[in-house]
Symmetry: C2
Subunit: 208 residues, 2 copies
DNA sequence: GATAACTTGTGAATGATTTCACAAGCCGCC
DNA sequence: GGCGGCTTGTGAAATCATTCACAAGTTATC
């Protein structure tokens, strides 16, 4: 398979979301054009995105909502659950740990870590904050699939190095810093400062 | 000015971050190559990005750290403060309202809104949760620049329509839904489900 | 002030992504 | 079973973004 662009994968997520909505509304088929309208793209883009993975529609009719839903779940690797750990029990880590949307989509938060003794041992719901010192041991025992990083920026790289050498292969980073990881580790960044600066840029340069 | 790509603006934010670090470490000049290494890009990319806005370096020497810092602040519109409101006082809204990084970068959270009577009137730090019902009136009086959306997905579009017609021109959306806005409104999305699904895709299709 | 060692700024080339445009296939109806 | 109205799948074209490659400018050294 040809390398798939990040932008394509993002759109597949969007399409899946619309398909789920469409199921709730009882739709049985959907056209690339409808799918496109909801995602702010074009029907050609939708068809091209899907064409990388196969041929899912019926000419003249469109796509079967349940079939395409299932195909996208398969493509995105969502037919199984994923074990997620959260590293950093600050404001954002805490909020994420309690966010229901993750679990609903098959991302199960199984542990939260911090190194602050005041936080270690505190509980939310079924989760107890664990000691960062134990993280290598836990990873080797429990094999989490994905680590979400919500530590302060100046600790993030050290933490990532530990996670990676303990075997974590996918990271979602919220710390406002560019992390270095080996090529077999997948890293995504969520950088709110960067997003706000993008808005600032747009507001400032609006009419140029 | 030619339209600037989103990817370019994101990288400018990154460069600014490294420049701030470099200032702290007492560096006076920096080359495009150093800037590139930290951002996981190439020196040609750095120079091309900057070239859209002018000529900031000295051949043979590199860039003056304080001068380039100042130029990037200017370009990104960061020489002023921006007034930010947060709409939705759930887990994520609350975490963002208390996040210090925003204020540090000149984004001042001036109000938080919710429609839940149990939340309205509660305080964190200097902020009191206000009634969503008053938001149009407040916007017209206080002219916030940016609204951060952390409502549930099924309320987000209605809320956005209200914000936009009250005069908000920049939005940062955390609700996992694709919002429709008029062309003169800038919208950025932070969609954690989408990021996790991107990781799921990468883990699933790793070796293809 | 000539030379060597660097580094920028930028057209041109390459590569990636999106859009176009249309043949081919499907459905419903007469 | 043929026709009209739709919609997909996909090469080709167009657009957009990144990388290359090098002339031109700067500093340091002798």
């Amino acid at each position: 398979m040809r390398r798939i662009a990040d932008s394509t994968v993002r759109r597949l997520s969007l399409y899946l979301r619309f398909l789920e909505e469409s199921t709730n509304r009882g739709l049985v088929t959907i056209s690339s054009d409808e799918l496109a309208r909801r995602g702010g793209t074009t029907s050609a883009q939708v068809r091209k995105d899907l064409s990388f993975f196969g041929s899912f529609g019926k000419r003249g009719l469109g796509y079967s909502v349940p079939e395409l839903t299932e195909s996208l779940r398969e493509i995105l690797g969502l037919r199984r659950d994923w074990q997620v750990i959260i590293v950093g029990a600050g404001k954002i880590g805490t909020a994420l740990a309690q966010y229901r949307g993750f679990r609903q989509r098959g991302f199960r938060v199984t542990a939260v870590y911090d190194r602050d003794p005041k936080k270690i041992g505190t509980r939310w719901d079924a989760l107890t904050v664990r000691d960062m010192a134990d993280i290598e041991r836990d990873i080797q025992k429990e094999h989490p699939d994905i680590a979400v990083l919500t530590t302060p920026a100046d600790e993030a790289q050290v933490v990532v190095d530990r996670l990676v050498s303990a075997g974590v292969r996918a990271l979602l980073n919220f710390a406002p810093i560019q992390l270095q990881v080996p090529p077999d580790v997948t890293l995504r960044n969520v950088n709110m400062a960067m997003e706000l600066e993008g808005l600032s840029f747009a507001l400032t340069n609006r009419d140029r």
